[in-house]
Symmetry: C2
Subunit: 427 residues, 2 copies
């Protein structure tokens, strides 16, 4: 609310003057423009990575950035960089941003907020006549969600060299489209960007994001200073049985992949049972072959998303997944592949201090908190000092069309981002 008053730019005190041109209405309108691309019923978004909708969103972002005179760069996995030049053009830039892709049935704020807040800061700096020592760049990372091409955070993983581009190219979506082909189409649709290498030096990284949990809203806090991210392990399980006629084949002759997949998941539920409700265990995707009502399933594949804030639990329970799957099949075969493994991360104390002090200057209450979701900042934390700013989202609902964050809260987060980036860009 305090921040809402300040966006007129009047009576700005010296400590917060450089955030005064962060424009609540402009930031909100850009969210609403983006929300038209891939809109689905109930205010939702289906803008999965490297689809036609993703390409349209990229073009709109590039259009806005170029109209403001910022230069565009892109690396070989389609990570998009918007640069506002610094006094020292050769200094490693300060980077901010997030992702533009969504879940198949996602909301209007997850990811895109961090990108649009970054663009808002660049424009506000221009309007305020601010010059920074280092360049400030906004990045839109490719395929953070991982809903189409698994795993997620491919763009930031490849940029930070925790995964090789060539190991991503052969990954197929549920319809068999290769990541390589979808990427080539996306790159071809947005020509003219300066070619950027992977892992160029970055001075610091801050990512603004909606919380995707209920804490900030329920405690009336406008700002969360994110201390770290719980660890994640993703698995793909494939159960192979034999197709057979549903009307003629007795149970004793069946090798039913669907029934055995269910037995596996029941055993995994037991494994993951946790009275403290800290374990996050999710089977979110399942594919059945031939998927015909009167054929016994020959093949079932499903995914496991397992997360925990403690590294030792993540290791111990996660390592039990493969043997549990194997123990749970009788007539079928099962294969378990781990496609993603990331231990918990702790963000840079100096970056966190900078964010906290920016919030204080703006009179915004801020509290330190961990992140349940992973974000691109998880990987950037490997290569530079990194941190995150959370803003509240209604009832903590995310990955859902009903996801909502208020214009005031989005603007407040962008103002904190502006002051924190300014501080880091002048160090």
């Amino acid at each position: 609310m305090e921040a809402g008053v300040r966006h007129t730019g009047k009576d700005a005190d010296p400590g917060t003057a450089d955030a005064r041109f962060v424009d609540r209405e402009r930031l909100w309108q850009r969210h609403m423009e983006m929300a038209k691309i891939g809109a689905i019923p109930g205010d939702g978004i289906n803008r999965q990575a490297l689809t036609r909708e993703d390409i349209t969103a990229r073009k709109l972002l590039i259009g806005w950035a170029e109209a403001l005179g910022f230069s565009i760069g892109m690396d070989a996995i389609g990570n998009l960089f918007i640069r506002r030049q610094g006094r020292n053009p050769d200094a490693p830039p300060v980077l901010t941003g997030s992702h533009m892709d969504s879940q198949p049935s996602g909301g209007r704020f997850d990811g895109i907020y961090g990108v649009l807040a970054g663009l808002e800061v660049l424009e506000a700096f221009d309007q305020a006549g601010v010059a920074t020592e280092r360049p400030v760049e906004v990045v839109a990372w490719t395929n953070e969600e991982g809903g189409r091409f698994s795993p997620g955070a491919m763009g930031s993983m490849v940029f930070t060299e925790s995964r090789r581009l060539k190991d991503c190219l052969g990954i197929a979506d549920a319809r068999g489209v290769l990541f390589a082909d979808a990427l080539a189409e996306t790159l071809a649709a947005t020509p003219g960007a300066e070619k950027r290498p992977f892992n160029f030096p970055v001075a610091a990284y801050i990512e603004a994001h909606i919380e995707q949990g209920p804490k900030l809203e329920s405690e009336g806090l406008p700002i969360g200073v994110v201390t770290g991210i719980q660890g994640s392990r993703w698995f793909e399980v494939e159960v192979v049985g034999e197709s057979a006629h549903a009307g003629t084949t007795p149970l004793k002759f069946r090798r039913d992949a669907l029934q055995e997949a269910l037995a596996i998941i029941a055993a995994l539920n037991d494994l993951m049972d946790d009275p403290t409700d800290t374990v996050r265990f999710t089977v979110g995707r399942m594919e059945v072959v031939p998927n015909s009502p009167n054929s016994v399933a020959e093949r079932v594949s499903f995914t496991i998303d397992f997360r925990h804030p403690e590294g030792s639990v993540l290791s111990d329970l996660g390592n039990e997944i493969d043997p549990t799957c194997r123990r749970s099949v009788s007539r079928c075969e099962v294969e378990v592949r781990e496609v993603f493994h990331r231990q918990p991360c702790v963000f840079d104390p100096q970056v966190l201090g900078t964010i906290e002090s920016a919030a204080n200057k703006l009179g915004l209450r801020a509290e330190r908190m961990p992140s349940g979701a992973f974000h691109d900042a998880l990987f950037m934390n490997d290569v530079c000092p990194a941190g995150m700013i959370f803003v509240p989202c209604e009832k903590g609902v995310s990955h859902n069309p009903a996801e909502y964050a208020s214009p005031d809260d989005l603007a407040a987060g962008a103002r904190v981002l502006a002051l924190a980036l300014l501080d880091l860009a002048n160090r």
Copy 2:
């Protein structure tokens, strides 16, 4: 084997002379030609109803039939009729046939055998110079499998008026394509057929089919005389929960449609538990929305295929499905729709006697047996005297690319069909 010798036509005795031009090689080659359309690895077939592959197969069949001088008819649901004229053109014809569509991962004999055996008989009659009192017609029923558009046997159900065409038109496949649109495309692709009404008078119906079970092969029998078909009930279950972020949402806040679908299926497994292994209970298709690894499932739909030879068990256990589903959900909602319900059927004793006597004349051992699978004959049995001929298939495997029937067994079945049709067409 005995029959294999006779196909040369030499030394044919009077009782079997009219089957002597049934040509083992020609019948086999036509199966192999058809098997090229929609071929999948492992000798399989993916030729689902009203697809491009189905249209191609229809064109090939029409081509063969027209080259032999037979006339082609089609009704409004795409059931295809090949007519060999009788001395009395106005007499209700004797009908034989089956279907040309396959399971998504089906074999080279299921359905298509009954159609090609029928065509073989018409050609053999021509070659033998046989004239029949009644016309003899071969039918290829639309969408028997039901793998793409559920339920199956739509063509024969609509023909026999046990279901209305207009109630089928709005049914969508897994990709959202409407039956109405796929049908219109198929009808447009095969113009020039005489328009036939539904439920025109039929004197008798015989369907030849592979057994899809192990009995004939294991007992060394070339011919099964099918006494009836077990009852079937098909259901569609939809579980509705709420999508949520897999990394941030505690179990206690989840409404996970996939987990509750698994609980439902576990309860149904208990309900259907049967020490005699007579109950056929199959969950063969499952669809998850949004089907993303890091989103809790919002919506899961799955199918139930339940069959039993006893009408009372079919009724009693089947009626427990809906309440069992409702009892098994806690935080989600569930809706159960019954999409198909057919009590067990008993075929016409006279038709069965005719088939048995044809096998006897040919020196082929035949035994009476029930059918576990349903077939179009189930519905034809409502409107005319009907029966079925089974031939052995290897290890009973069906709805599977490995499905196999030998050229000798296929030819033997076609010879029995020829004599039985001749008998019925001259009554």
